[in-house]
């Protein structure tokens, strides 16, 4: 793991670890239902992100990285009731979220005294001391619009809009018709500046179908930054790109972070990408296995 102090692209002077975290979460649980079976993805994850800090979340596929990002971004909500696991007394198979009369693996008896129970979730997700769990749907929408910027692995651009319109989408959602009209010059200039900084000045009127993968991801990054969010949540932003293009994208994101002091939480399975972060959190089976700096 490369030290933060030696990597040329980091700027540790922007990170004040002594201050209260910008974004923090405690004891996060998330279970997805597949039919009658519940599949636990997160099993009590704690995370803190300070202002200006770059945190990489590393883990294998299915370790809960993207789910953690969605919870931090307010795109999903954690479980409010935590299912306690039960186990087969014969083969020890751990089950959670179901209450079978017999073990589905060996047919053995399931200890009735240890039948599945739930307990209230006592964790939290806080952004600047505001509890996301207590936010209304509307407040959560505003949080996603103003406080975080999502960058997805598959870009997720709207195909009917051109580059500038895609970049301005969060601003349109933020200000509404009259507000956008009043600020249109400023916002257009801002979008143009952002896109120009990513080398897309000559692509402003093009649609996503006319762009390369790297260009699309740059548009997605510009979209994430248009409302100046304090936190950028990037879910494998280079996962769908070739190495060279991915490296360029990463450099662009890091450059922006360095110049703006923006916090960034990046999910990746690439060790080299994670090595460039201020801190790396490893997830295994829905739990934090290690947190390196």
């Amino acid at each position: 793991m490369t030290s933060l102090d030696t990597h040329p692209m980091t700027n540790t002077s922007q990170v004040d670890l002594s201050s209260s975290p910008l974004l923090e979460a405690s004891n996060l649980h998330k279970t997805y239902r597949l039919g009658r079976v519940g599949v636990p993805v997160l099993r009590g994850v704690d995370i803190q992100v300070h202002a200006g800090e770059w945190v990489a979340i590393l883990g294998a596929s299915g370790s809960g990285k993207s789910t953690l990002l969605h919870l931090l971004g307010g795109l999903d909500r954690p479980d409010t009731q935590i299912s306690l696991p039960i186990s087969c007394s014969d083969c020890g198979l751990a089950m959670i979220g179901i209450r079978p009369k017999a073990c589905p693996e060996c047919g053995g008896a399931v200890d009735p005294l240890r039948a599945a129970t739930t307990m209230p979730w006592d964790g939290y997700i806080r952004f600047r001391d505001q509890d996301l769990g207590r936010m209304s749907v509307g407040t959560l929408d505003r949080y996603r619009n103003e406080s975080v910027g999502f960058v997805f692995q598959f870009y997720h651009l709207l195909p009917e809009l051109n580059v500038v319109e895609n970049a301005l989408l969060p601003a349109m959602a933020r200000y509404g018709r009259l507000g956008f009209f009043l600020r249109r010059q400023e916002l257009r200039a801002k979008a143009a500046e952002l896109l120009a900084s990513f080398g897309l000045s000559h692509r402003l009127t093009h649609r996503p179908a006319e762009l390369s993968g790297g260009e699309r991801q740059r548009v997605a990054i510009a979209r994430a930054l248009i409302n100046d969010p304090p936190v950028v949540l990037a879910d494998e932003p280079t996962g769908n790109l070739d190495r060279k293009t991915g490296q360029a994208i990463l450099d662009a994101m890091v450059q922006h972070r360095a110049s703006t002091g923006r916090a960034m939480v990046m999910v990746t399975h690439d060790q080299d990408v994670a090595a460039r972060a201020d801190r790396v959190i490893r997830l295994e089976d829905g739990r934090v296995a290690a947190s390196d700096t």
């Binding site: 619009n145 103003e146 709207l158 349109m172 257009r188 900084s197 000559h202 100046d228 360029a248 662009a252």
Partner: protein, 569 residues
Amino acid sequence: MSGFGRPPRPWSGTPKVVARAVGESGVPTPPRGLRPVHSLVYQALLTRRYLTSKIMPMLAIVSVMLSSALVLVAWSIMGGFLTMLLEVGRKMEGDVTINWPTAGFAYSDDLIARLEKDELVAGAAPMIETFGMVTLPDDRAIGMRIKGIDARFAKVSDFEQQVWWRPVAKPEPRDTRGRDPRLPAQDNADASFRINQELLEQLYANGLRLGRSDPRTGQFKPGVVPGIEAMGFSVRKPEGYYQPAYSVSRRTTDGSFKDIPGFAPLHNLTIRVIPMDAKGRDMSLFVSRTLPVVNEYRTGLFEADKNTVLMDLGELQRMLSMNEQQRLGDAPVDPYAISGEGPGERVGQREVIGTEPARVTTVLVKARPGVEAETLRQRVIEIYAGFARAHEGKVPDLETARGRMISTWERSLSTFIGAVKKETAMVVGMLLFMSLVCAVLILCIFWAMVSEKTKDIGILRAIGASRGGVAWLWLRYGLVIGVVGAALGLGLGSTIVWNINPIHEWMGEQLGISIWDPSVYYFPTIPNIVESRKATLVVVSAIVCAVLGALIPALKAAFMDPVRALRFE
């Protein structure tokens, strides 16, 4: 900063970043050549893009268009039929009729004078309406309605415009080639297709006074003005004018046929009526008169144009013994007693004990502009009540008539109009139900579109669009489809209605399909007026149906799980 107009610069991977700390604001100058982004929120922008980039919204628009056009055409034709019926009635015989059939009532001049003093009344006129047999020049004998009118009839009707054979300066609206024989000739070649203008003027004058002057003696001779469809001599053309038949066959006494000219004013009609006394008892078998046809008239109501003959009021009164007459006593008559002197000397006559005033069966009343027929009817009832009190015992009173004496055109046709209104409501109701089917079709289309755009919805929610915003996006989409479809439907439906008669004629000529029978539907042409009230209701209903169709998909989109939406393939 790179401008839009410069050649593209290869991406080096090390972008020039303009430093901007979180929270700073600044207004850099926009680069030249940047195409402006429309200052709309994302819903308006996406609605416009979705509308023009997909085939499914086009199908939805076509669905709304056809549905609204169908409702508009059906409602306009059926509703227009009623509207035309009521309008023609007003132009035929005014707004209110005071009617005491068969026996008639006296002192109509006094009643008319009382009516015309009222502020709601524009004019009043006497009329006799009876039934009789009419023998046509081709020896056909037909039962017809015989109406006796005088010069005052023009005050309560459009009679001056309804007399057909008169000089006209402009052709009928659909006579684009100017083939109406009443039009002035353009040249000598054209003159063979026209009726001489001086003749037309003479015919017009004769038609208005319901008679003509004897060319030898100058004496006025009463005539008749039958409806233009009555004799069958004048043939209606699709362009709206009438062409006199070249000839008509007539059976002779030996059983053979001979041709006679097909121009009606060249012939006579024989009218036979049965006179009644003041108590409605028939006084003799029948009275017959052979009178010249001085013109024809056209109301636009096929029933009236086919089965009515107009003639001079005084002449008809004499035929029906409804003119002013001496009342004779019932005392036994000395057959040898001489009464009177000189030319008036009579032998064996009953004693004259009084005078029976002239009678009419009907008084027509026209309302001033802006006065409703029902309002006028109430006023006429009050006026007649005073009239009946003044001539108590000599004229029918309202109680005897049991409220049926004074009526409007709509009331007199209330049974028929009621049936047509119910039929119209039923057809329009069925078509509105079809509009609901259209709403379900839009629901299906939008459901499919929401499914197709699941990932887009996830993106919008991820960047902070609210549920309401996402729902409004789809509702707005439905609204736009409704507005565009309804506008196109209004255009299509209006075009069909305005051209329904040429379309019907084309169907008859090319496909042998003829749906509109004037003898059944009262009018020779299909109603072709689009009322703005109906058009507005149809457009609003179409828009509401489209929005309702989009409602459930909009709610589905709004409450979609953003994470699952983003993972949707």
